[in-house]
């Protein structure tokens, strides 16, 4: 029984973290039809930025570090959008993939110059360091915090898309960018805005994961693989789909680690294959026009 509660908390927190990152990716894809490999870089920079701000200390600086991680990624996103992505909107998907992959490689190099090639670890803030006993299990408070952030991000995105003019404008621009422009909206800045929000979420995801795993070069590529799977399962462009996909992948990770340790990675791909075989456009996706 102990382990069941722990498994649930572990699954949900992993899923929440994946969701935060995947939501950014799927938002950008949904609004701009851009598949952004450099999303992984933003995530990694978010995590490394946490280690820089935190240094050896902990305490109140953790909250600053969390914010810094997201902001560093958002600034990186702004730079990338204005210099590279802006020129790619009308390009083929393959060109977009190659170009954003190049950006990922460049960021990986710069990252190694700044943070070195070794791995780093940070501790959760003291208030969240201990466990809390739920149904007899000691669930790490930090995991609950991550779950809470994931839920908050989901709610905020839903409110933004459903209730704000900015969200309506985004949805309008997905369908008919030209009409949004002839309505007087500067599409370039609208797209920049979305891209920066996407990068912010990637950085937030990276910052959130920092106290839960070691931070090392290469996490940019590994996360991008995971969140690609999440968003394809959920349906590219669907935020709710990203949440579903993240839950499935989180579950597959936990089950894999628990029961088939040597097959853990395969279970994730297997999940994707099964879902796509049944629903080629993802669980909540719609076929491309």
């Amino acid at each position: 029984m102990h382990s069941l509660v722990l498994d649930i908390a572990g699954t949900l927190s992993a899923a929440a973290n994946l969701f935060v990152v995947a939501a950014g990716l799927t938002l950008v894809f949904g609004a701009m039809r851009i598949i952004n490999m450099a999303h992984g870089s933003f995530y990694m920079y978010g995590a490394f930025a946490v280690t820089t701000v935190l240094g050896v200390g902990a305490g109140w600086r953790f909250w600053l570090a969390l914010l810094a991680g997201a902001v560093v990624a958002a600034v990186a996103g702004l730079t990338v959008e204005v210099t590279v992505i802006r020129r790619l909107y009308d390009a083929e998907h393959l060109t977009q993939l190659l170009a954003t992959y190049a950006v990922l490689l460049i960021f990986a190099d710069i990252g190694q110059r700044i943070w070195g090639t070794g791995y780093r670890t940070v501790n959760p803030p003291p208030v969240l360091a201990s466990g809390i006993s739920i149904a007899g299990g000691q669930v790490p408070r930090y995991q609950l915090f991550v779950i809470g952030v994931g839920a908050a991000v989901g709610l905020a995105l839903w409110l933004m898309l459903a209730r704000t003019r900015f969200g309506w404008l985004l949805r309008a621009a997905v369908q008919d960018p030209e009409s949004v422009a002839t309505g007087g909206t500067n599409l370039a800045w609208l797209r920049t805005g979305v891209f920066v929000i996407g990068a912010f979420l990637a950085g937030l995801g990276g910052a959130l994961i920092a106290p839960m795993q070691s931070i090392a070069p290469g996490m940019d590529v590994s996360i991008i693989v995971s969140v690609f799977i999440v968003v394809t399962i959920g349906g590219l462009g669907s935020v709710a789909g990203a949440a579903l996909g993240a839950l499935l992948i989180g579950l597959a990770q936990t089950l894999g680690a628990e029961f088939f340790a040597s097959w853990a990675a395969s279970l994730i791909y297997l999940t994707m294959i099964v879902v796509l075989a049944i629903r080629p456009w993802g669980l909540l996706g719609v076929p491309e026009r």
Partner: protein, 262 residues
């Protein structure tokens, strides 16, 4: 007010507009006639900055528009109502109007703010400022449709919505691309009514049409566009009997006659 001077436009290698010159004066309602493929839509898209005018000059009250991106042309005061069912299908009618009204307040960043009163740029066009209430007063139907998705509206309702959206941006001139296309005769009659109302308020309008009968009733002047060139220009009363116009728009008038009989 709006002037096109020797405007050319290309799609790839295809030379579509071959030196279009026309003008719409303040408070004037002007038709741009032409059969399918004549270049009416291309002319409007070029004015809006969706196609590049290369070469050529497009000015609005002396301001050069021809090098501006679409959103700047819109902000300069050109309202564009494209042809067909071009509405934001996933949004509700109310959201569409609210978005258009939000534009009155400046950049999209301010779109974060919901509700509130219009505190932004001063009204630009004649009969301004347009508010959602005022749009509702000329299109009462839009009130009951507020919560319906725009994609589900009928053709006529979508025309109302598109016109309402354009008006909420307080334009100085409206470009209407085939406003009567696909509408039942009764709705076409309403459309003339709306345009007449706008005209009485002093709005400048450029209408691209094939439906001569509908258009004649509302315009001051008309141009005939054929193969990317202006063939001739005449006042409404001279156009009405023009054999050249009717010959050119044989299909267009035939369609009207059919429509009338239904």
């Amino acid at each position: 007010m709006l002037t096109l001077d020797n405007v050319h436009a290309y799609y790839g290698d295809a030379h579509i507009l071959q030196g279009v010159s026309l003008a719409v004066g303040a408070g004037e309602v002007v038709a741009l006639f032409g059969r399918n493929g004549a270049g009416k839509t291309t002319t409007m898209r070029t004015i809006m900055g969706l196609n590049r005018a290369a070469p050529g000059h497009i000015t609005l009250d002396g301001t050069e528009l021809s090098r501006l991106p679409a959103h700047r042309v819109a902000r300069a005061g050109v309202g564009y109502v494209p042809s067909g069912r071009r509405v934001f299908a996933a949004l509700t009618t109310g959201q569409c109007l609210s978005l258009a009204a939000g534009r009155q307040r400046g950049g999209w960043a301010r779109a974060w703010r919901q509700g509130g009163s219009a505190d932004g740029s001063p009204p630009a066009g004649p009969g301004n400022p347009w508010t959602i209430d005022r749009v509702h007063s000329i299109f009462p139907k839009l009130v009951e449709l507020a919560d319906r998705r725009a994609g589900l509206l009928s053709g006529g309702e979508q025309q109302m919505l598109k016109l309402g959206q354009a008006l909420l941006r307080n334009p100085r001139i409206l470009l209407l691309d085939e406003p009567s296309e696909g509408l039942a005769p009764a709705v076409v009659a309403e459309m003339s009514q709306w345009i007449t109302t706008l005209r009485q308020e002093g709005m400048s309008v450029l209408i691209a049409e094939q439906n001569v009968r509908f258009t004649m009733a509302v315009i001051d002047r008309g141009y005939l566009l054929a193969k990317g060139r202006i063939r001739f220009e005449a006042a409404a009363r001279d156009l009405a009997g023009s054999p050249e116009l009717h010959e050119h728009l044989a299909m267009g008038t035939a369609r009207t006659d059919l429509g009338d009989r239904q």
